[in-house]
């Protein structure tokens, strides 16, 4: 077989299409509107979820009588608002379609993978740690509140059992945080492998 046979296959390939599909301005505008509606719905879902969490802790802050619990709730509200803002910011950082022609495929895919990898690697700083101060203070406040209520009722407070319960709750929360961090780190490492593959494609082997 010669190069002619390969050329012939390329010819068949290029002939294998009917009249090219054509979209008019109306079609394209409607597609763009659909895309914008999807983004708006996604944003709305995020705002509603954040609003619910903020609402619950605002209610707790209003109901619980101690200052420590109220500060804990306030910090959790701030943490939730910060995480919601970061989610929105990261989701909006996608490149505009108009810019896709400026970069070749390796450059474009690399920048997309890098953006996702960095978000996953930094999950501790923007997704997990904002909840820690509020959560710690809330748990500690709950411990103190239970102690005060028990003692005020004239019943003996079992410090050992209370500390054990608090440690158990904190341990469970900590394990969930560590699991989220490990899963994100693993996903970031997978993306790094894809980035390395792209780098190899862009460079000739020595």
């Amino acid at each position: 077989m010669t190069n002619d046979s390969v050329s012939k296959i390329c010819e068949f390939w290029q002939q294998g299409s009917h009249e090219p599909t054509r979209f008019n301005g109306e079609d394209l505008r409607s597609r763009m509107n659909k895309f914008e509606r999807t983004i708006r719905r996604r944003n709305l879902r995020e705002y509603v979820a954040a609003g619910l969490v903020i609402g619950v802790f605002a209610y707790y802050g209003w109901v619980f009588p101690t200052l420590l619990l109220r500060i804990g709730c306030g910090l959790l509200i701030l943490g939730t608002a910060y995480v919601a803002y970061q989610l929105h910011r990261k989701a909006s950082a996608r490149p505009a379609p108009a810019e896709m022609g400026l970069r070749n495929c390796v450059q474009f895919q690399r920048s997309e993978l890098e953006r996702q990898r960095d978000a996953l690697r930094a999950v501790w700083s923007w997704y997990l740690s904002p909840f820690l101060p509020g959560m710690s203070l809330f748990l500690f406040g709950l411990f103190q509140f239970t102690k005060n209520v028990t003692e005020a009722a004239g019943r003996p407070f079992n410090t050992g059992a209370a500390v054990a319960g608090l440690t158990l709750v904190a341990g469970c929360v900590g394990m969930v945080f560590v699991a989220i961090w490990l899963l994100n780190r693993r996903a970031a490492n997978e993306l790094q492998k894809q980035i390395d593959d792209l780098d190899r494609l862009a460079q000739d082997a020595d």
């Binding site: 077989m1 390969v6 296959i9 068949f12 294998g16 090219p20 599909t21 896709m100 495929c105």
Partner: protein, 171 residues
Amino acid sequence: MASQEDLYEEVVQTHGAALDRLARAYEADPDKCRDLLQDIHLAIWQSLEIFDGRCSLRTWIYRVGHNVAASHVAGDRRARSRQLLSIEDVDVADAKTDTEKSAERNIALDRLMALIRELKPSDRQLMLLFLEGVDAPGIGEVTGMSPGNVATRVHRIKNILRNRFQGGEKS
């Protein structure tokens, strides 16, 4: 400088069929394929607003088309977590289809399309550009692959095509 509308018309006339094939090579489902093709046309339409001729129109639209399609595959892959092949892992020796007879030619094209859909995006880009008759420097300009990598992979693609599809000549 031609207007955005004129450029878009030129793109549809000169590369519309190639864009159809590109969408089909990235998406097998007809409805999703239609959506992908519309996304590609929309991105091209929007991008033509800033097209300033720093590269050829062909390079520009192939970049936009493949970048949109690769993002589509990335989104889809997360959902299905399907393992995609590198061109180096594709079995060169496979049942050969005779492309001389027109009925078999269609089968061969379907098989070729199915093979392309199994490839990683970077190899898919290279295979599609090669089949569309883009030369090695042009492939490098669109994909960003080094000349050495383009040459090695094009050689591999030719071997696969020769061994899997018989283009009219008897070996």
